[in-house]
């Protein structure tokens, strides 16, 4: 993987939502649709891009552009188009089409809107279906129903997107493994070539977390959630999807290029309020920068920001971390073990110049192999699908 090269993925965070979902702890801010500063936000993002480009190793070649949020489908297609146009002007890998994804909330987009995104160059749509059951959608704080979500998926297909992905959340209180699997199947039958199926994790500070503490929502049954993980995986694998990452399924060749790149240690630039990026600077250092989540502050700061300011924690950039080779090795293992293909420690070692299969890792791997939690194939370590349920523990031992 060419992390020392100049290829990069680009993530644009759009921090606005019409309403906040009950489970969401992502950086976003509820606004009315007519209050979204469409153009101003695009200007600010492009300004950040031009400054960040100055700091990065040249020449920059983008392999993907990903609009996440928040609700990027609230953003006007024209503004999205502007961002796409200017960023793709700075260069991409010759002969390899850049993947451009936009996350969509079924409530905030209609067939015409979808067509407009297609027209401005978006190649991939990621649709937040989340659930097909009315009570569960309500528990999640989603404003759409199942019909609308599935319609969005077929509209995306009709509009001619090369790739369509659907998000599903399972393991909700009261949901049986059979119900989770049947939702996954129903979503798959609406034609997405990619499904992200997330086991619900309840963050205490979210509305759902509060409701659970107060007893308004019953707690998640751990065993049921674990069984649902297997049931969803079996269902989608049965329909011909590959379970290629802990929470991601794709038809052959339809993996998310953007996320695959990040998971394999590729450099990614984060743009926008609340965005996080991990990129190689011109001097060779690799940094991770997290932007402050304050959208208004971001707009104002970008009017008079310099490239140097982006290398200081405190203003727009909330935290800044220089990643040394050992840390990067840890991250590659952690992310790689979340992929079906695993991680080739020998290859990563050669790339980063630090030891991969240390004595401690070899010992940990031996112990994990006995328990069926890890497979070693030459320099590569991977977690078999059923053992992903203990992925944190496995990764911690392999760190």
């Amino acid at each position: 993987m060419a992390t020392d090269g100049t290829c990069t993925a680009i993530y644009v965070h759009f921090p606005y939502c019409v309403r906040k979902c009950s489970y969401c702890d992502f950086s976003s801010r509820p606004v009315r649709r007519d209050q979204v500063p469409h153009d101003a936000y695009a200007t600010a993002v492009l300004r950040e891009w031009s400054l960040r480009s100055l700091l990065m190793k040249q020449p920059i070649r983008s392999i993907s552009l990903y609009f996440g949020g928040g609700t990027p489908s609230l953003w006007s297609a024209a503004s999205i188009g502007r961002v796409i146009e200017e960023i793709s002007r700075s260069g991409s890998v010759p002969g390899d089409a850049i993947e451009i994804t936009v996350e969509c909330n079924p409530c905030s987009i209609d067939e015409a809107g979808i067509q407009m995104l297609r027209d401005v160059g978006v190649t991939r749509l990621s649709v937040g279906v989340q659930s097909l059951s009315a009570p569960r959608l309500e528990m999640l704080g989603r404003a759409h129903d199942a019909t609308r979500a599935l319609a969005t998926l077929s509209a995306a297909r009709r509009a001619g997107f090369a790739h369509v992905s659907a998000d599903l959340i399972y393991g909700l209180p009261g949901e049986s493994p059979a119900e989770a699997a049947s939702e996954a199947r129903a979503i798959a039958q609406s034609g997405p070539d990619h499904v992200s199926a997330y086991m619900l994790s309840v963050v205490p500070s979210t509305a759902l977390g509060r409701a659970m503490r107060q007893g308004a929502v019953s707690p998640v049954d751990e065993a049921q959630a674990a069984d649902s993980f297997i049931a969803v995986s079996d269902a989608l694998v049965g329909l011909g999807y590959e379970h290629y990452e802990v929470s991601n399924f794709a038809r052959t060749g339809c993996e998310s290029k953007h996320n695959g790149w990040v998971w394999r240690g590729g450099s990614y630039v984060g743009l926008g309020a609340g965005a996080v990026g991990s990129m190689q600077l011109a001097d060779g250092r690799v940094i991770r920068a997290s932007n402050s989540a304050d959208a208004q502050g971001y707009l104002e700061a970008m009017e008079a920001c310099s490239a140097e300011r982006l290398l200081e924690a405190g203003g727009v950039v909330q935290s800044l971390e220089v990643l040394d080779a050992e840390t990067r090795m840890s991250e590659r293992i952690m992310l790689g073990l979340r992929l079906a293909e695993g991680v080739d420690l020998d290859a990563v070692s050669a790339e980063l110049g630090v030891e991969g299969w240390t004595r401690a890792r070899q010992r940990a791997a031996r112990e994990l192999e006995v328990k069926g939690r890890l497979v070693r194939e030459a320099g590569r370590a991977r977690i078999p699908r059923h053992a992903w349920l203990w992925e944190n523990d496995t990764a911690a031992r392999m760190l």
Binding site: A225, V246, V276, S278, E331, K371, R373, N392, A395, R397
Partner: protein, 601 residues
């Protein structure tokens, strides 16, 4: 040239922990010019970092202070620093035997505490001139009058000439030096008699072997002299003699009454028993100085490497530590659960903690320690008696006639408000009350006879918690007594885990067994499979708990923004695994082996 005995004053400083002993020692070094302000590291005498951190002195260090008194004469003051903790009674006594006087330092904001009393009695029994020093008089909460009364009533020392000082600010330190000269007797002894020197400390020097610190009682000790240790019978040649002031300075001889170190190519500290007498080798030996005895460990625990590959490193570390601290004993041990390790004997709980901490800190080892245990005398039906210091090795009940366990006398000082709580605690711990008396209107001294094993079960922490930290204690082992004891075995997934076996009194066996299971459930992390923990007495299971299996331990989302956070989480999770021991298919954390200490009564 040695000083004439009339110009020598040998003294030590005794105090309850934290009453300011080390600070006062620093001040004395400074005032006599032995240590310049610039060289001063706080608490110079506590050289080991661990001592500085815990604020206690582990091995005694001695220093010579030249002092020009108000009368214009220069005196040789030898400050003999004594260990300040209850576990080192014997070493304290040996050090006191090398002195003629002692400064009894009492924090005048706190008053007399348990170790004030124990140390003062030791000094009085050693016939020392004890000078009461009321410390911390610079603090607003000081109560000098009350402290004087306590010293007079409890310790039985007149406070008419007590000194009021602040070791921190240096106030009154000059008066202490004058008092040492005028009130502490000069050493008696026969300068022309045959050599007798008392060994009161020893340590290991990587270049010179075991070094001993001595007080010459009679005669003169010279470089090149052939000497003999009376207790061991071994003979050596004195290679070097010297004094600490505060750094080592060679001298050609040490005269009667003087204090200094001896290097004599002694291989191991084992050959230099504290309390032994050094005499001249060629001559008919004079009688040994009184008081020597071999120190016996009272508290035992297993120490095992977390990773079996570290066994050799652990053995090397134990051998090195043992060079400096012969009071601690160790021998190879095997545990079915923990593999190869060592059974170690210590003078007391603090001594045990210090050794374990040094092993981990100075030798960078990850260790699993088992809960401390005492030595049991097991009388078998066939008439034989075996001494067992590992609960797992206690013979099965059907072979045992009766078991004896060590008993201790515990003296507790507490404010009167907590008397009820302290008595309840002692009664719960199978104590027999010996006496209870008021030391002042609001302070009480309680004496109990308690099985030593009960003291090991977290007694000190419990005492502190029932008295909100105000009670202090001191204990001493006084002998053995018969008790109705049984062994509780702990089974993990059906297999007995030998390192978790404990010996408890029969009346408490059911509750202890149940509480231990409940505690283990808390301490053993959930694993991939369910883990059953059972407590059994003989073949009878008395309690059972299940540690539920982890069904999922996975984060659903891990995108760009989550990576740092997740990495930090995993790093933390990884740290938690460092002190886990794989026992069969179950991982058991270090804490679990000490669970019995955390079982609340």
């Amino acid at each position: 040239m040695p000083s004439p005995p009339s110009l020598i004053r040998n003294f030590s400083i005794i105090a309850h922990v934290d009453h300011g002993k080390s600070t006062l020692a620093d001040r004395l070094l400074e005032v006599t010019g032995v240590l310049s302000e610039r060289e001063r590291v706080d608490q110079f005498l506590d050289r080991l970092p661990i001592e500085r951190e815990r604020g206690i002195t582990i091995k005694s260090q001695t220093v010579r202070l030249p002092y020009k008194a108000a009368d214009g004469t220069v005196y040789q003051l030898n400050l003999i620093d004594t260990p300040g903790h209850v576990d080192f009674h014997y070493e304290v006594r040996c050090a006191l035997a090398a002195c003629e006087g002692a400064l009894l330092v009492v924090d005048a904001t706190q008053g007399v505490e348990a170790q004030t009393l124990a140390n003062a009695y030791s000094a009085i029994e050693s016939n020392l001139e004890v000078i009461p020093v009321l410390n911390k008089t610079d603090l607003p909460s000081v109560d000098v009058e009350k402290t004087r009364r306590e010293i007079e009533d409890v310790v039985g020392l007149s406070c008419a000439d007590a000194l009021e000082v602040s070791a921190k600010t240096g106030l009154g330190v000059g008066a202490i030096l004058e008092a040492l000269v005028s009130r502490v007797p000069s050493p008696k002894g026969d300068p022309s008699g045959p050599l007798r020197a008392l060994v009161f400390d020893s340590w290991y020097d990587a270049y010179r072997g075991a070094m001993v610190m001595v007080r010459v009682v009679d005669g003169t000790l010279r470089k090149g002299q052939k000497i003999k240790m009376l207790a061991t019978g071994s003979e050596y040649e004195v290679v070097d003699l010297g004094v600490m002031s505060p750094n080592a300075t060679s001298v050609s001889e040490l005269g009667t009454g003087e204090v200094g170190y001896v290097a004599a190519n002694i291989r191991s500290v084992k050959d230099t028993g504290t309390g032994d007498t050094i005499v001249e080798a060629s001559k008919t030996p004079p009688p040994a100085l009184p008081g020597f005895r071999k120190v016996k460990p009272m508290v035992f625990a297993g120490i095992f490497p977390t990773d079996n590959a570290d066994y050799d490193a652990l053995r090397d570390a134990l051998e090195k530590l043992h060079l400096n601290d012969p009071a601690f004993a160790f021998e190879p041990d095997t545990s079915e659960a923990l593999g190869f390790g060592f059974r170690c004997g210590f003078l007391g709980l603090l001594h045990m903690e210090i050794v374990q901490e040094r092993l981990e800190r100075d030798y960078d080892l990850d260790l699993i320690s088992t809960a401390p245990s005492v030595m049991y005398r097991v009388h078998l039906l066939d008439g034989t008696v075996v001494e067992v210091e590992n609960p797992a090795r206690v013979p099965p009940a059907h072979k045992v006639e009766h078991i004896e366990e060590p008993l201790s006398r515990v003296v507790i000082h507490t404010p009167s408000a907590y008397v009820g709580a302290v008595l309840t605690l002692c009664e719960e711990r199978r104590g027999v009350q010996k006496s209870i008396s008021y030391s002042s209107t609001d302070r009480v001294i309680i004496t109990y006879e308690l099985p030593l094993a009960e003291i090991l079960f977290d007694f000190h922490d419990r005492l502190k918690s029932v008295s909100r930290g105000y009670a202090s204690m001191d204990y001493e082992v006084i002998g053995f007594g018969t008790s109705d004891l049984v062994k509780i075995d702990i089974l993990v997934n059906g297999e007995p885990l030998d390192a978790l076996a404990v010996i408890v009194h029969k009346d408490k066996s059911f509750t202890r067994g149940r509480d231990l299971c409940v505690k283990l459930k808390e301490l053993i992390p959930r694993q991939q499979f369910e883990v059953a923990v059972q407590a059994a007495i003989g073949s009878r299971v008395v309690a059972r708990v299940n540690v539920k299996a982890v069904r999922k331990d996975v984060i659903a989302k891990c995108y760009g923004g989550d990576i740092s956070r997740k990495r930090k989480l995993l790093e933390k999770q990884k740290k938690g695994k460092r002190r886990m021991k794989q026992v069969g298919s179950v991982e058991i954390p270090q804490d679990a082996f000490l669970a019995i200490l955390k079982v609340d009564n």
